[in-house]
Every structure is written in structure tokens, then in C-alpha cells.
């Protein structure tokens, strides 16, 4: 599905991402772990095309998309959420999803005027269905800025799915959530996998990552230091070192 080849991004002298190779298979849930500042969010931003690569390639289903602008990539099936929530605060919950229906399939199936003036009944029904799935139907006419934190996280997740992506990049979706909300998130991610969605999950919440992912890649200082099943990664000494530091000889 997604293949990163020698992905590199330097900000001035800082090597935020350094020669990372990573493959996400169709229908897989891949966890991306790493200490703060290890380049996880930068990788997500590079996959989305928010800034140009220093070197390397981003391939989606075998096509090189490294040079494409962000909105085109969404049309091709890559959607994301943000680490710090970025909703359209002065739009209603319903409108937040309505404006995000931008997959090439959605753009192609309706004629231009219909799409921009009203949106088909089908498109509107899709929004309502998404609100049900994320338990936001009762808030549909509320301004997004007025939602509680957990609801905002859910809405952002819903907005990412509104463009019917094949691959969704979740940047710390559990940050600031309580245990119950994390369980719901876990269930939703599993349900999506059941529907064939591919997920790249960046998360600090270890239990969630261990429970829901098929494979995990670990970054440190912009480089990939480990990759494997959750159990393998947990046992990897390099990973322990990255998180806990090296044991100095006493």
C-alpha cells in the first residue's frame, strides 16, 4: 500500500528524518513508536506532503507521490488526524465532515454544481452515518469549537475518514483521552481494519499500541531502529535503550 524509500528531511542542520525505509501493507495496522522528537510526526507530514522531502520517495500503490500537493494525495486515499487537534472550529460538526468529502471517487461521482451547491443525498447520508459511528449524531449542529475534548478527537478522526481513505494516519489519537475513551478508540480502529482500512498509528499509549497493531516500527533521532511484531519490539534492547537510556557502567 504505502512504501517509504530512503525518506529524509533536514530542517537546517537538524536531521528530523534520516533515510527511513518503511512499508505498510494493505489492511495492516502499523504502529510508529519513538521518543519525543524522534521524527514520527515529521514522517506523517511528509507522507501527507505538507513540506518537500530532502531526499527519498513516497510511493502509494506503486506510484511515486512525492511531488504531489496535499489535497491531491487526499483524493488518492491518504487521510490524517493531527497531534494537536485542528478542527474547523466555527463550522458545525456536520459541516466539518461535509467539507472533507474529497476523495477522487466522491469528486468524480457528482457533477460540479451539485457538489458545490448542495451535495447529493448520498453524500449527506454518508455524513450522518459517520456521525452515528463516532457517537456524535446528537451534536451535529453544534459548533466544533464548543465540543468537549474527547468529542473533538472523535470528530477529527471522523473528518479524516470522510474522504473515504484507503490509508489513514493517526497522529496520537489517544492523547488526553481517559481509559474508557481509549477502549472505544481501540474498538473503532479494529472495526475499521475489519472493513479493510490500512492504518499508520503514532501513539505513546503503549497498551493501545500493543493491543491493536500488527507490526511496530520504532524511530530514534530520525532513524528507524527496530521493526517487528509488538512482542519482538518489546524485547528489542535497542528500543529499551532509546526509551530508558544506556546503562552506564557503574
Amino acid at each position: 500500500m504505502l512504501e517509504l524509500k530512503g525518506l529524509t528531511k533536514h530542517f537546517g542542520g537538524v536531521r528530523a528524518v534520516d533515510n527511513v525505509d518503511l512499508t505498510v501493507a494493505q489492511g495492516e495496522i502499523l504502529g510508529l513508536l519513538g521518543p519525543n522528537g524522534s521524527g514520527k510526526s515529521t514522517i506523517v507530514n511528509l507522507i501527507c506532503g505538507l513540506f518537500p522531502l530532502t531526499a527519498g520517495q513516497v510511493m502509494l500503490r506503486g506510484t511515486d507521490i512525492s511531488e504531489l500537493p496535499p489535497h491531491t494525495r487526499v483524493g488518492m486515499g491518504i487521510a490524517r488526524t493531527f497531534q494537536n487537534i485542528r478542527l474547523f472550529g466555527q463550522l458545525t460538526v456536520w459541516q466539518n465532515l461535509w467539507v472533507a468529502q474529497n476523495s477522487s471517487e466522491q469528486t468524480g461521482s457528482e457533477n460540479f454544481l451539485r457538489r458545490w451547491l448542495g451535495g447529493s443525498r448520498h453524500a449527506r447520508a454518508e455524513v450522518d452515518r459517520a456521525l452515528e459511528f463516532f457517537d456524535l449524531a446528537h451534536k451535529r449542529d453544534e459548533l466544533a469549537a464548543n465540543l468537549a475534548f474527547g468529542e473533538q478527537r472523535r470528530l477529527e478522526f471522523a473528518r479524516a475518514l470522510a474522504a473515504k481513505p484507503a490509508l489513514v494516519l493517526l497522529d496520537e489519537p489517544a492523547a488526553g483521552m481517559n481509559a474508557e475513551e481509549i477502549d472505544q478508540l481501540d474498538a473503532r480502529i479494529r472495526k475499521l481494519r475489519g472493513e479493510g482500512m490500512t492504518v499508520l498509528l503514532i501513539e505513546h499509549h503503549v497498551e493501545l499500541v500493543m493491543s491493536v497493531t500488527d507490526r511496530i516500527a520504532v524511530l530514534n533521532f530520525g532513524q528507524k531502529i527496530a521493526e517487528g511484531t509488538p512482542a519482538e519490539v518489546q524485547a528489542n534492547p535497542l528500543v529499551r535503550e532509546a526509551y530508558l537510556g544506556t546503562a552506564t557502567a557503574a
Binding site: H71, G75, R86, F88, Q90, Q95, R115, G118
Partner: protein, 302 residues
């Protein structure tokens, strides 16, 4: 009576000017180029009726299209910069347009008299309305037909998906991009629509004043253009109308009896209004509250 008709005309034309800035502001861009598009509309429409002898309606349509095309052309390079830099870039464009008309000399002689734009002296004798026997009241009505049409179209646009997309871009460009919205296309489109509306406003302005010159289209007018929607609030088109009535009707004309103190109070009242209602006279909460009241009435009636 003519005083009030004149005032209503001014309010109508300035509402169009404000609405042209409203379109652009929805996408989060502050453009001071609107006075430039307004000037282009004024000169083009005036030249078409005076020099080419066109009727007013086609002249206005062509003026609107020319101003719109100009806005589109300016939009591509200008919208690459944001915030303060965009303000500077659009101000520069507005001034360039003004200085163009300061130097623009294109006169035709007819019956011993010269007609047409005459550089710094301006463009006199745009007398389509008096020549065709329109009374001040007719002109006022004509202006307001245009205002109502534009307001209705924008009101409709606002409630459609296009309106939501414009606002989404204004709220958060990065999130809009990441939701698959082509931000550049949206911003340039908004700029173009704004240019068309300013062009209509300018064309009407040229014909009811009958005499235009470059100084009328300077930075002050551009500032007024963005001040209306900002003061009125961006939740719907009526905010802009209300702000124009407040500024032109109340602050400029209504306070005339205060003499020189008026200008001081003018600034003070705008500051006060922005403090009391930081999101504009009509904000999203007002709209929601109004909606709730109407819904309650409906359900009570049923």
C-alpha cells in the same frame, strides 16, 4: 428627500464593496485590493456607456467581468503570501491601479466637447442616468436591485457546501489541505468572486456620482471595504449591510451635527463596537440563537 435617497445609494454601493471583501475574508485573507477592483469597475463601466454608448446593464456586466479577471490574475501571485504580507501586496496593487487611472488619458471628441478619462482631472460627465431620464429614486432602486441580487446569491452560497469550504479554509488552511481541499483554488475563486462584486459596485458608483477621479479609490476606500465585514461579522451577509448602515448612516451622516468631534467619536465607536462584539455585530452565536428562537416559534405554532 434627495439627501436620504443619496444616502441610501451610498449605502447600497458600499454594501457591494463590503461584500466583495467579505468573500475574500471568508477564506481568512485580508485584501486591500478591493478598492482597485472597484476603480476598474467604475472606469470600465463609465467608458462603455459614455464612449461606446452601451446601455447600463451590459456595461455593468462587462465591468464586473473585467474586474473579476483582474482579481483572478492578481489572486494567483498575491495569495502565495499570507497575513501582513498579503495586506502589503494587495495595497500595492490597489495603489498601482489608482496611479494607472491618475495617468490614464483616453478622450474622444464629440460635438466640440471631449469625453472620457482625463488623467488627474478624472472622468467627468458619466451622465447615462440623467440622459435617459432616470430620477434619483429610479437610480436608488436600480442600485438596490443589484445589492439584493448579490446578497441573495452570497446568502445562498454561504449555506451551500461552497460556503462551508471557504470558511474551512479561513479557519485552518493546513487542516483544509489535509482534508483534501485545494486551498489555492478556493482562495483564487473567492478573490475572483470578490472582484466581480466590486466591479458591479464600482460601475454603479461611477454612474450615480457622474464624476470619478483617482483619489476616490485610495487606501481609505480599501480600508472601508475590509472594515465593513470585519465590523459586521462574517457569519452572514447581513452583518456587512448592518456595518455599512452603522458607519455610513450613523457615524458619517448621523453624527454630522457634532462638527469636528465627529471624527474622534467615529474611531471611538468602532473601537467600542469591536470590543463589545469581537466577532462582529452579527456573530455565529447570534445566528444560532436566532435559529433557536425561530425553531421554537415554529414548534409552538405547529
Amino acid at each position: 428627500m434627495d439627501f436620504y435617497l443619496g444616502l441610501i445609494q451610498i449605502i447600497g454601493v458600499h454594501t457591494l464593496l463590503g461584500l466583495s471583501a467579505y468573500c475574500v475574508l471568508l477564506t481568512g485573507q485580508v485584501s486591500l485590493a478591493q478598492a482597485g477592483f472597484f476603480a476598474i469597475g467604475a472606469y470600465v463601466a463609465g467608458m462603455l456607456t459614455v464612449l461606446a454608448g452601451w446601455p447600463i446593464v451590459p456595461a455593468l456586466i462587462v465591468a464586473a467581468l473585467v474586474a473579476g479577471a483582474m482579481a483572478c490574475a492578481v489572486g494567483f501571485p498575491a495569495l502565495r503570501v499570507k497575513g501582513l504580507m498579503l495586506v502589503v501586496a494587495t495595497t500595492a496593487f490597489g495603489e498601482a491601479v489608482r496611479l494607472f487611472f491618475f495617468n490614464f488619458n483616453y478622450q474622444l471628441e464629440r460635438g466640440g466637447f471631449k469625453f472620457g478619462p482625463h488623467g488627474g482631472e478624472g472622468f467627468r460627465q458619466i451622465r447615462y442616468f440623467p440622459e435617459h431620464g432616470w430620477s434619483t429614486f429610479d437610480v436608488m432602486l436600480f442600485i438596490w436591485v443589484a445589492v439584493v441580487l448579490v446578497m441573495a446569491a452570497l446568502w445562498w452560497m454561504d449555506r451551500s457546501r461552497a460556503g462551508a469550504v471557504l470558511r474551512a479554509v479561513g479557519e485552518d488552511e493546513l487542516a483544509a489541505q489535509s482534508s483534501g481541499i485545494n486551498v489555492t483554488a478556493v482562495k483564487v475563486t473567492a478573490m475572483t468572486v470578490g472582484g466581480v462584486i466590486a466591479g458591479v459596485g464600482g460601475g454603479l458608483f461611477a454612474h450615480y456620482t457622474t464624476h470619478i477621479e483617482h483619489v476616490q479609490f485610495g487606501v481609505v476606500l480599501a480600508t472601508f471595504a475590509v472594515a465593513y465585514p470585519i465590523l459586521g461579522g462574517l457569519s452572514n451577509v447581513f452583518g456587512t449591510l448592518l456595518a455599512v448602515i452603522f458607519i455610513q448612516g450613523f457615524l458619517i451622516e448621523g453624527l454630522r451635527f457634532m462638527g469636528d468631534w465627529r471624527n474622534l467619536l467615529f474611531g471611538g465607536l468602532i473601537v467600542l463596537a469591536m470590543n463589545v462584539r469581537p466577532r462582529g455585530l452579527i456573530d455565529a452565536h447570534t445566528t444560532l440563537a436566532l435559529k433557536r428562537i425561530f425553531r421554537r416559534k415554529e414548534s409552538a405554532g405547529a
